[in-house]
């Protein structure tokens, strides 16, 4: 089947696909499938909210402090002048927190911490370094915390984690809908695309931790869906506004979203030119709608950020990094570094990974092979503060499965080349979106390493804004096969994904509690 991946593109400017007979039954079917994906994901995330020890999500206590600070701000709570220990400080000391250690296993210490928290209730250290991030995630997470502000920090932390599950549900739903736009003729593949995200341990682990990344993933998934929808059905004002809104949500959450802007701007320009040439003038308005939906509210936020809150705009717009005066030299280093974040150095490149931790012999330099250690092992599952992962006997077969799926997806694309010719711009957009995020992560990583003496920066979670592409690759891999084979492989993949998720639970319980 040569048209496995490609769907016939509708005429530019067409606003809807033809509605065939029995459409309502099919609509009910895909909605049920979407619900199944979301429910499985929410249950998966729910388990993570409980088994992951407090503060063991990446940077979790900084985000918790920031959510609490936002909740106090919403309630206009003011410091009453009473000297009290910080609730968060007591909790961190009581767990006790460490990236490598164990939380307490003593029931008496649990009671002691609770008693101490009762004395310090609702008194925090104020904004944390999470304040560098834009405020949208903290605002959303602070709303339920405000409602339950009478609870102690242990309970409030769980409330924050629970709130993430709604965001995780949105991520899964948008991934499902993205695959639906890409492969409209293969409804079963939408389910596979949604479920591989719902069952992906690292994504669910993040959903079970308090982190801005969760809203970033949802915004990215929404953006992929909005772009795919515009490619398939034409850019209307509403769809343009949808693209702008998805970008806006992401930009008000974390700077990683800037990585998408060049590709999306290019795509929107292509939409506008195509619509203009096709004489669909109404659709040209989609482009300014996208720009307006993004730029106007974001400009308002920048004004509030600098004029009202008195904060530097760099926290929102550059992550605090700046380009040194010798730009050519800087670009040469960044290009070399970006290459080596994935592959070994070649030619005149200076080895960027040679000296890290060389002065601390008990621990080998990490990562020595970033493609394997950071990205593949990380994507299979590295948890805590980027601290523990599956053993090699899991990572190797898992990586082979991922690589095989990638090869199958590439094969499916290759076989559908004829049909995909009309969708070149769309494919190029996704490639550029991925490249933009990769570049942003490596530029930030280079800045981090040069300013912190070589400490490792990159983590697989930084690529989770691209999780819709993962669901698309898996879906493309299975629809590229003969129908029976593709369905059988899908069933096997879903069972393996379930085993993978269960394995991550066992790994985590063993890491902290055995």
């Amino acid at each position: 089947m040569t048209d496995a991946v490609a769907a016939p593109a509708p005429p530019e400017g067409a606003s809807a696909v033809r509605v065939p007979a029995g459409a309502s039954r099919r609509r009910a079917n895909w909605r049920r499938a979407l619900l199944v994906c979301v429910l499985v994901g929410v249950v998966h995330g729910l388990v993570w909210t409980v088994i992951n020890p407090p503060m063991q999500g990446p940077d979790e206590f900084t985000h918790v402090a920031q959510v609490d600070a936002m909740a106090r701000f919403l309630g206009a709570d003011r410091y009453d002048g009473t000297a009290r220990p910080s609730e968060l400080g007591l909790f961190i000391g009581g767990v006790p927190f460490s990236a490598e250690g164990y939380p307490s296993w003593s029931p008496d210490q649990d009671r002691l911490v609770r008693d101490q928290l009762a004395q310090a209730r609702w008194w925090g250290p104020g904004p944390s370094y999470g304040v560098a991030n834009p405020p949208l995630y903290y605002l959303i997470a602070a709303l339920p915390v405000r409602v339950f502000s009478g609870l102690d920090l242990i309970d409030r932390l769980w409330i924050m984690r629970l709130a993430n599950l709604f965001i995780f549900a949105a991520t899964i739903a948008f991934c499902f809908l993205f695959v639906r736009e890409l492969l409209p003729r293969h409804p079963w593949a939408w389910t596979v695309g949604g479920l591989v995200v719902a069952l992906h341990p690292l994504t669910a682990f993040m959903a079970g931790s308090v982190s801005v990344d969760n809203l970033l993933f949802a915004a990215s998934a929404a953006l992929f869906f909005a772009v795919a929808r515009a490619f398939r059905r034409g850019l209307t004002v509403r769809r343009g506004a949808g693209i702008g809104l998805a970008l806006l949500v992401g930009l008000l959450t974390k700077g990683t979203m800037f990585g998408f802007i060049p590709a999306v701007a290019l795509a929107v320009a292509v939409f506008a030119v195509r619509a203009w040439r096709a004489g669909a003038r109404r659709h040209v308005l989609g482009a300014p709608a996208a720009a307006l939906a993004l730029a106007l509210p974001f400009w308002v936020w920048l004004q509030i950020n600098t004029q009202v809150l008195g904060r530097a705009s760099g926290g929102t717009t550059t992550g605090g990094y700046s380009v040194p005066p010798d730009r050519l030299e800087y670009l040469r280093h960044v290009a070399s570094y970006t290459w080596q974040v994935f592959l070994p150095p070649i030619g005149p490149m200076r080895d960027q990974y040679q000296d890290f931790f060389a002065t601390n012999p008990p621990f080998p330099a990490f990562p020595q092979y970033p493609l394997w250690e950071t990205w593949l092992q990380g994507f299979v599952g590295r948890f805590g503060w980027h601290q523990f992962e599956f053993p090699v006997w899991v990572n190797v077969p898992a990586a082979l499965i991922f690589l095989a799926l990638g090869a199958l997806a590439a094969r499916a694309l290759w076989r559908a080349t004829g049909h995909l010719r009309r969708r070149r711009a769309e494919l190029l957009t996704y490639v550029l979106m991925a490249a933009g995020v990769f570049m942003l992560v490596t530029v930030a990583g280079y800045g981090w390493r040069t300013s912190r003496g070589g400490l490792s920066f990159e983590q697989a979670r930084y690529l989770l804004p691209l999780i819709p592409l993962y669901s698309a690759v898996v879906a493309a891999a299975v629809v590229g096969l003969r129908r029976h084979t593709g369905l059988a492989l899908s069933a096997v993949l879903l069972v393996l994904a379930t085993g993978h998720a269960l394995g991550a639970f066992v790994l985590t319980l063993e890491r902290y509690y055995v």
């Binding site: 008496d108 079963w188 069952l199 601390n360 394995g503």
Partner: protein
């Protein structure tokens, strides 16, 4: 005849079940409690000759059969040690004398840790004071619980009742080697601590069962639809 899709799903489920069982049945030494905040300690706590050092906030469960510490020095063998566990009232609950002559780790030659057998039929002591007395004539260092050999990880803290400075790292082990399955109940019990009050072991087991049930239902539903599609 083309195999039905459900056969592939069952096959994959059987492989997962076998692998899970093999992993969970593998025996290994298991911790009963520990105060360590790091995987690999650097530095340590110096114990001068004829001196005693005590540290609070320790959890010494009755089921622990031995205490493991990590002594080191620049030369010689280990001096005699006296290890005492005191309860909240200051009463000595357990006292063990360790004869001298055990090997010590040196920078160029690591030695196995010192295993101190604990008497049976002890009560669990929570928030205990754990004391180490050097009864010998040479100083030793005992590995600490805060300083990490990994510079990439953030700093660690001791819990309430403990000092904020380095403590002697104390790893308490269950007797013998145990399978993961045999300690699963303990692990889940431990995972209920520092969680919202209503969360007990039953909650975690119920959530795990819910997840497994949801996934089983999902796969069954998918396979049924897939067989219809195929």
């Amino acid at each position: 005849m083309t195999p039905r899709i459900r056969h592939f799903a069952w096959g994959a489920a059987a492989v997962i079940a076998v692998v899970t069982l093999v992993v969970l049945l593998a025996p290994a030494p298991r911790l009963a409690a520990t105060n360590t905040r790091v995987i690999r300690s650097v530095g340590g706590v110096i114990l001068a000759p004829k001196s005693e050092r005590c540290q609070g906030g320790e959890y010494v469960p009755a089921e622990a059969s031995r205490l493991q510490v990590y002594p080191g020095a620049t030369s010689g063998t280990g001096p005699p040690l006296v290890v005492t566990v005191r309860n909240g009232a200051g009463r000595a609950v357990t006292r063990v004398r360790v004869p001298g002559g055990y090997p010590l780790s040196r920078p160029d030659r690591p030695a196995p840790p010192l295993s101190v057998p604990l008497p049976a039929n002890r009560p669990t002591v929570e928030l205990a004071r754990l004391c180490f007395r050097n009864a010998g004539r040479s100083a030793i260092s005992l590995a600490g619980n805060l300083g990490t050999a990994n510079p990439a990880t953030p700093g660690a803290v001791n819990g309430p009742g403990q000092r904020s400075a380095e403590e002697v790292r104390a790893d308490f082990f269950l007797s013998g080697s145990r399978s993961g399955l045999s300690v699963a109940g303990r692990a889940v019990e431990r995972a209920t601590l520092l969680r919202p009050g209503f969360i007990g072991a039953w909650t975690i087991w119920a959530l795990l069962a819910l997840f497994l049930g949801a996934c089983t239902a999902m796969v069954t539903w998918f396979v049924r639809n897939a067989e219809r599609e195929a």
